[in-house]
């Protein structure tokens, strides 16, 4: 059968459908039905990134809009301030201006008195302060804003007031209102916006070419596949341009808000503004896409694949630089002077540049001639680009099949017998880092660029950093932690689809991954060590600096393993699409944890830092427990590890338990209960919710014998149970005696006075009330909930992966840390004893009894 050649529109429709489907599939929430099918036949593991992606998009669009709004706001305000009439030398703020207006307008005695008062010694200071911040235009032109002497200000003010009246002054309204009155010098504003638009264009162009997951980054060129259809080359390219236009999110995040906001502020109706913003974005994106297509084809045709990656790395650097510039320009508080100078020197006709044409159109109104121009550009440039592209592929889409291209003809024997320092996975990953220039740039160059750029735009930053070792330590920690996202976090992702190879070696996967994490940790440690050494050189030596250094380096190692574990859990090695292989939500969580520790590092309370380090350690432990469970199932298409009670859920539920208490307490504030009852109610509901939720999640994950495993039920014979309970009684009494003795000692010796007073005050506020409710809370509720969480889940979580002593100690420390500082030692002891009993009996009742006795005794004392 002879098929007809596909026309342009048919191709457009079918290809368009495919593109839309591909993009919809990225948001896999929508893909619900298909996912179920995949699960049934076992073709792919489920991925959870869809909802997250949608949220991210909404958030990005929102922040883009607010950023553009802010940009215009700041710029027109600034321009108003700077380029206001040269005849009016003083720019006054609202307060001073109104005073003067009053004086001139009413000419009454009262206001005259007020004004003269103002220039009295006493009131003069007020005006002087206001004037200090309002430079005159001539000062601005000189480049230096000098504050004149008080006398000359007054003299000038009087002079102007007497000769020109109030019209001799200019005033600027408050920032937020400045928009509706566009700056007097609108031309300058549009020139500035034009410059920003061009910078954004360059940034977008390079970023698009640098995209790792798009055409240039991939091994297979989709164009090859498209060329196998009976469609004319020209329409194929046209469709490709359209695809780039509508499916490049970054373009839409930048240009759409930018133009829409400008139209909105020119008093267009919102939907007119939206439509015009859309059209401008399409226009610019089509230009961008045409250039991009030509460049891509040229690069594909003329460069071997290995150097394409290097070029992409270069593009990343260039693109990042321009993108950062756009962010910097739109986030600064004032317009940078150099930008104004450039804008002043540029002729206005520069706006005829195709990229800034929508702006020019705006400025001139909807002139027919201009409109024709824009349409001509819109048609001509893509047409020329398409012609060039077509010409380029006229001698074939590929210059060689690729297999032997770029072959360096290295003698096999040479490579095989070459001596190397590193072996195995270490050498493999180092090779990867060195050869994947894009990855190398991200890991090693981008952090440097970010820091240097920030120092460049805010020179004070350097001073601030050098001023104390604390900030240096913080900077070292932050950079180290940041690089881990591209190293340790990617240990599994970097194996790509070759993970099967690791499974054929006689070495445990976990061991291999651990080795890799340590290697990446050392790489990430490079900058922090340089910074810390710099700190030692610049700042006079003290012993606390050594302590800080030790803390930073140990915590970085902890974070390396945290990043590694989280990255392994976030990676789905079965996923063929590189963008979806790793769940980026997890890296956000990691950044959050990084920020939390960074904060306590900055606060510089050693005890606080140590507590944080311990908690991070527990987190690392919990993550790696989960990793341990998951490793055998990495290449299993749908089966996950069978669920067990683990530390991760334990820690999450402990956190939830305390968090919910706070939230629920706020809810109960509205009720008519006494504050004591409110506390108890929030404690009770949060405990109940967390425990029920936990049991439900264990049940849903098909954990067998939940009640027995968490110690809620025991199948021991009654006799043994009775002896256990008897023993628990004695132990409880013993612990509480020790506790009371400890509290007495503290009382006498006067330790923790401040903390104790604070504690008494707090608990006094909450708990003054009936003794009955106190008993309910401390003797009944607290032991049951806390024993279930800390012994039933957290202790068991530790116990599963470590020895008895370590797990007792760790769970008791966690238990003690969530309690008040005053009683930290007896609570720790209580944790040890209850954990020991739980281990012996696998039953919660004895531990609960001990806890009850302890609490009862402490309260009554």
């Amino acid at each position: 059968m002879k098929t007809k050649n596909m026309g342009f529109y048919q191709t457009l429709v079918s290809y368009g459908k495919m593109s839309v489907k591909r993009w919809v599939n990225k948001f896999s929430v929508i893909q619900f039905r298909k996912k179920k099918e995949e699960e049934r036949t076992g073709t792919r593991k489920k991925s959870k990134s869809g909802f997250f992606m949608i949220m991210m998009c909404v958030l990005m669009m929102f922040s883009a809009f607010s950023m553009c709004y802010r940009l215009l706001n700041v710029y027109s305000y600034d321009l108003n301030k700077r380029f206001i009439d040269k005849e009016k030398p003083y720019i006054l703020n609202e307060y001073v201006y109104n005073l003067l207006k009053k004086y001139v307008a009413f000419d009454s005695k009262e206001s005259k008195i007020e004004i003269t008062k103002l220039f009295d010694r006493i009131a003069f200071n007020k005006l002087k302060d206001k004037l200090k911040n309002t430079p005159s235009y001539s000062d601005f032109l000189k480049g230096k804003v000098k504050i004149k002497s008080d006398k000359s200000i007054t003299r000038n003010l009087w002079k102007i007031l007497n000769t020109k009246g109030i019209s001799g002054f200019a005033y600027v309204k408050r920032k937020m209102d400045s928009f509706r009155t566009f700056p007097i010098n609108l031309k300058i504003l549009f020139k500035l916006l034009g410059i920003i638009s061009i910078i954004a264009f360059i940034a977008l162009f390079f970023m698009a070419l640098a995209n790792k997951n798009d055409n240039l980054g991939q091994v297979e060129w989709t164009m090859e596949w498209l060329f196998s259809f009976p469609v004319p080359t020209k329409s194929l390219f046209m469709i490709k341009v359209l695809e780039y236009t509508f499916f490049s999110p970054l373009q839409w995040f930048i240009y759409f808000p930018f133009h829409t906001i400008i139209f909105l502020l020119l008093d267009f109706v919102w939907w007119h503004a939206g439509l015009l913003g859309f059209l401008s974005t399409v226009y610019l994106s089509v230009l961008l896409s045409s250039f991009r297509l030509v460049c891509e084809i040229w690069i594909r045709l003329n460069l071997p694949r290995s150097s394409i990656k290097n070029i992409q790395a270069l593009f990343t650097i260039v693109g990042m630089f321009f993108l950062l510039s756009v962010f910097f320009l739109s986030n600064s508080h004032t317009i940078p002077i150099f930008l104004i100078e450039i804008a002043e020197n540029l002729p206005f006709s520069f706006l005829f540049c195709p990229i800034t044409f929508p702006l020019r159109l705006l400025f001139g109104g909807m002139d027919i001639l201009l409109l024709l121009c824009i349409i001509a550009i819109f048609v001509l440039i893509p047409a020329i680009c398409l012609m060039i592209a077509k010409k380029m592929v006229s001698k074939g889409l590929l210059k060689s099949t690729g297999v032997f291209q770029g072959s360096r003809n290295i003698e096999t024997t040479k490579v095989l017998s070459r001596k190397t320092i590193f072996r195995g996975v270490i050498s493999k990953d180092l090779k990867h880092l060195w050869r994947d220039k894009n990855h190398m740039v991200q890991t090693l160059v981008v952090p440097l660029i970010i820091v240097l750029y920030n120092i460049f735009i805010t020179p004070d930053l350097m001073q601030n950093i050098i001023s104390s070792f604390n900030t240096i330590a913080l900077l070292a920690f932050a950079i180290g932690g940041y690089t881990f996202v591209f190293g340790c976090f990617q240990v599994l992702n970097i194996e790509q689809q070759s993970l099967w190879l690791l499974f054929t070696f006689p070495e445990g996967i976990k061991k291999i991954l651990t080795k890799k994490i340590i290697m990446w940790a050392f790489i990430g440690m490079g900058y922090p060590i340089i910074i810390l050494v710099g700190g030692f050189v610049l700042i006079p030596f003290s012993l606390s600096m050594v302590l800080k250094t030790v803390i930073v380096i140990t915590s970085l190692f902890l974070y390396a393993f945290l990043a590694g574990g989280m990255g392994i859990l976030a990676t789905n090695p079965m996923e063929t699409e590189a963008t979806k292989r790793i769940n980026s939500g997890e890296s956000m969580g990691y950044f959050l944890l990084l920020a939390v520790f960074g904060g306590s590092l900055y606060l510089n309370n050693i005890l606080n830092i140590l507590v944080m380090m311990f908690l991070i350690f527990v987190l690392v432990f919990a993550t790696w427990q989960k990793v341990d469970d998951n490793i055998p199932f990495l290449l299993d298409p749908i089966n996950d590890a069978p669920s067990k009670i683990d530390l991760k859920t334990g820690m999450i539920s402990v956190f939830l338990f305390f968090f919910l208490q706070q939230v629920l307490f706020l809810c109960y504030l509205g009720t008519s209960w006494s504050s004591q009852q409110q506390v108890i109610a929030s404690y009770f509901t949060s405990g109940l919710l967390v425990i029920l939720g936990l049991l439900y999640s264990l049940y849903r994950n098909k954990v067998k014998d939940i009640f027995k495993k968490t110690g809620l039920r025991s199948e021991l014979p009654k006799k043994i149970k009775r002896t256990h309970i008897k023993n628990a009684f004695f132990a409880g009494i013993g612990v509480s005696v020790l506790g009371v003795a400890y509290l007495k000692i503290i009382d006498v010796s006067g330790f923790f006075v401040k903390e104790r007073n604070m504690f008494m005050e707090n608990s006094g506020k909450n708990l003054s009330g009936s003794f009955f409710w106190l008993l309910v809370l401390y003797v009944f509720l607290a032991p049951v909930f806390e024993e279930f969480l800390f012994r039933g889940i957290v202790f068991q979580g530790f116990r599963r992966s470590t020895g008895l002593k370590v797990s007792i100690a760790c769970s008791a420390i966690v238990f003690a840390l969530v309690h008040n500082v005053v009683a930290i030692i007896p609570v720790f002891l209580l944790g040890v004893v209850t954990a020991y009993f739980f281990e012996k009996t696998n039953w919660l009742i004895p531990s609960i009894i001990i806890h009850m006795i302890y609490n009862a005794v402490i309260i009554s004392v």
Partner: protein
Amino acid sequence: MIEHSKEILLKISNLSKQYGDFHAVKDLSMEVYRGDVFTILGPNGAGKTTTIRMLMGILCPTSGTAEINGLDCFSKREEVMRLVGYLPDDPIFYDYLRGSELIRFAGEMHGLSHEQIEEKSRPLIERLDLGKVLGEFATNYSKGMKKKLALILALLHEPDLLILDEPTNGLDPYATRAVHELMLELADAGKSIFFSTHLLDQAEKLCTRVGIVCKGKLAAVGTLDELKNQSSKYNSLEDLFFSLTSEKTENHEN
């Protein structure tokens, strides 16, 4: 064929793998003796690759066990891997490693010294005619070259048992012949081979024993002669294969 000692090297007992409601492998039991060249035959989607992946410890069986030399393939994976060389159906390699570097990497991971690696790989490279492309990144290889490279990686540590998933799929006639000769040679040297295929003539040419699977279940197992002699109406392996597999399909549908 009967004279070789009946020492069990690979033992699969009641092995099952379930994806949701779908049984990829169901209750599979078979044994492979030391020195056997064992073929697992079956149409597409019969569960051959799933079985092999369970043998490699990549997949966790839903129930049942597979043991190699008395070691459980899943829980004792690391020790099992010393004895086994594996060639997947569609080997994918790292983006940034040359063929020779991959050989080195695999050798190092098996604990071989560089001299040993060179000594072991040189004859294999020459035989499979891969020398010219080893300096190139392995992702750029054609499918046949990738397969040859993966075969070299599998043979580096001189495993007792070779597990090959469709070993000649994607190879040209020269390479196919070279691989066949290599397999026969290894078998003569006393190594055991467990391979999957859907090419009947290949099975007939190479193997000593055959297992036919269909829809995840074992349809027949035995030496070629045993299978042919089951019933007089099967003159060839081809007849047997078609009758067994199509019969199963019908039964299943009924």
